[in-house]
Amino acid sequence: MSTPEETDHHQVDLVGLLAGETDREETAQAVRHLGTCDRCTAELVALVGANAALRSAARAGHELDTVPAVPAVHRGEVAGPGPGPVDRGEALPPLDLTSPVRRESGRPDIRRRVLVAAAAVVVLLVAVGAGLALSHRGGPVGTVVAQAPLHPMAGPPDASGTLTAVADGGTRQLTVETSALADPAPGSFYEVWLLDPATLKMLAVGVLPPSGTGTYDMGADIMAGYSAVDVSLQADDGNPAHSSTSVLRGTF
């Protein structure tokens, strides 16, 4: 085994050391060398800064779901927008500075409003149809008392869903139907919640089955205290609280 003095600078894997990828012998060798080598110590100090900055950037990228599409861009498999932060799977809309009045308002344009309205009508029809279908399938015979389209939050931008609530006397049967949600990673699951926007009170309704459709019963008085539905991605870690990662949400 070499002494610290005998260890060449190039034998010390500082990047591997920072990443925790050196074995016992390599780690001990590096530590011994660093204790005697000002040059490598100075480099380690610099690399600590780069390491911290990269870890911070990676964490933020995961939080914002904007991590680099590394392999695809570099291997030329897709025509990306060039190097730099890449929003996975979703291209930026063209930069449009031609309608400053509209843009300054920060509100959707008329065409978008029409499209949104049309989509809402379609979703409403689907929700009503779902309610009727429930009745025909032997579900609780009753009236659809609430429905809501679910909009994507974190997660796939094309994910969607509906909430349909059917009254059966004093019971409300909630059916949450989702589509295009990614399969949860091992050790995680989707959970359905009801929310009260005024007080931010939350009620865990239940786990969303792997099929993407879940049905839940509750008392009408309980449901009356809420006006929004949320689907979260939860870690199966025993923590019953909302994970703060909402994938779908809608108001009814």
Partner: protein, 197 residues
């Protein structure tokens, strides 16, 4: 190969423009000078992270509109950009204000506690600073030679070990170590404000 960007104290992230074909002019300086190509370049560089930030606070169907508002305001406020501060702090400061505007406009729906916490007050300050810093690093990283950028991104953003990176790229482990070390040294010099200024 791209040219390493200028970052940090002077705030003007600089890079060769692969999108616009513009010469290698610091993006922020280009915007201050009224160069619309620099604005387009900034949009492609920072737009994804700005949109990711806005998504946390703004209704999904309004995010892209607010994104456009942010860059319009960036353009209109270009004469007030302080070159002594990081450009990213200015840009994300605009994004934060517009996100707050959007939350105020909401008449319906849920405003989660965590959204408020991440947007306003000291927590909001810290969060936006952290995101701006991350954007700065991401742009600096994008300015590294491709092979260095690739190795570092696979390590830090994909959580691959050096051995796994070697397998993924079909290159020797020693090459991975060398690429990462070179790239991180360059990033370290950027952070220290010493290189490519």
């Amino acid at each position: 190969m791209t040219t390493p960007p200028t970052i940090l104290h002077h705030g003007a992230s600089s890079r060769t423009s692969g999108v616009t074909g513009a010469p290698d002019v610091p993006v922020a300086q280009g915007i201050v000078d009224g160069d619309e190509r620099a604005l387009t370049e900034a949009y492609h560089l920072y737009g994804p992270m700005v949109r990711g930030y806005l998504r946390r606070f703004v209704d999904q169907d309004e995010v892209d509109d607010v994104l456009q508002v942010v860059f319009l305001e960036l353009w209109r406020s270009r004469e007030r950009i302080d070159p002594s501060r990081p450009f990213e702090a200015w840009l994300f400061g605009i994004a934060r204000k517009r996100a707050i505007d959007q939350l105020r406009r909401r008449r319906h729906g849920v405003i989660p506690v965590e959204s408020i916490r991440e947007l306003v007050g000291e927590d909001g300050d810290r969060f936006v600073d952290r995101i701006a810093w991350a954007a700065e690093i991401r742009v600096a990283l994008a300015g590294l030679p491709d092979e260095q950028q690739e190795a570092i991104e696979l390590s830090y953003f994909e959580d691959l070990t050096q051995q796994e990176i070697a397998g993924r790229l079909g290159i020797p482990l020693g090459t991975v170590k060398a690429r990462m070390a070179r790239g991180m040294r360059r990033l370290a010099r950027h952070i220290d404000g010493g290189e490519d200024r």
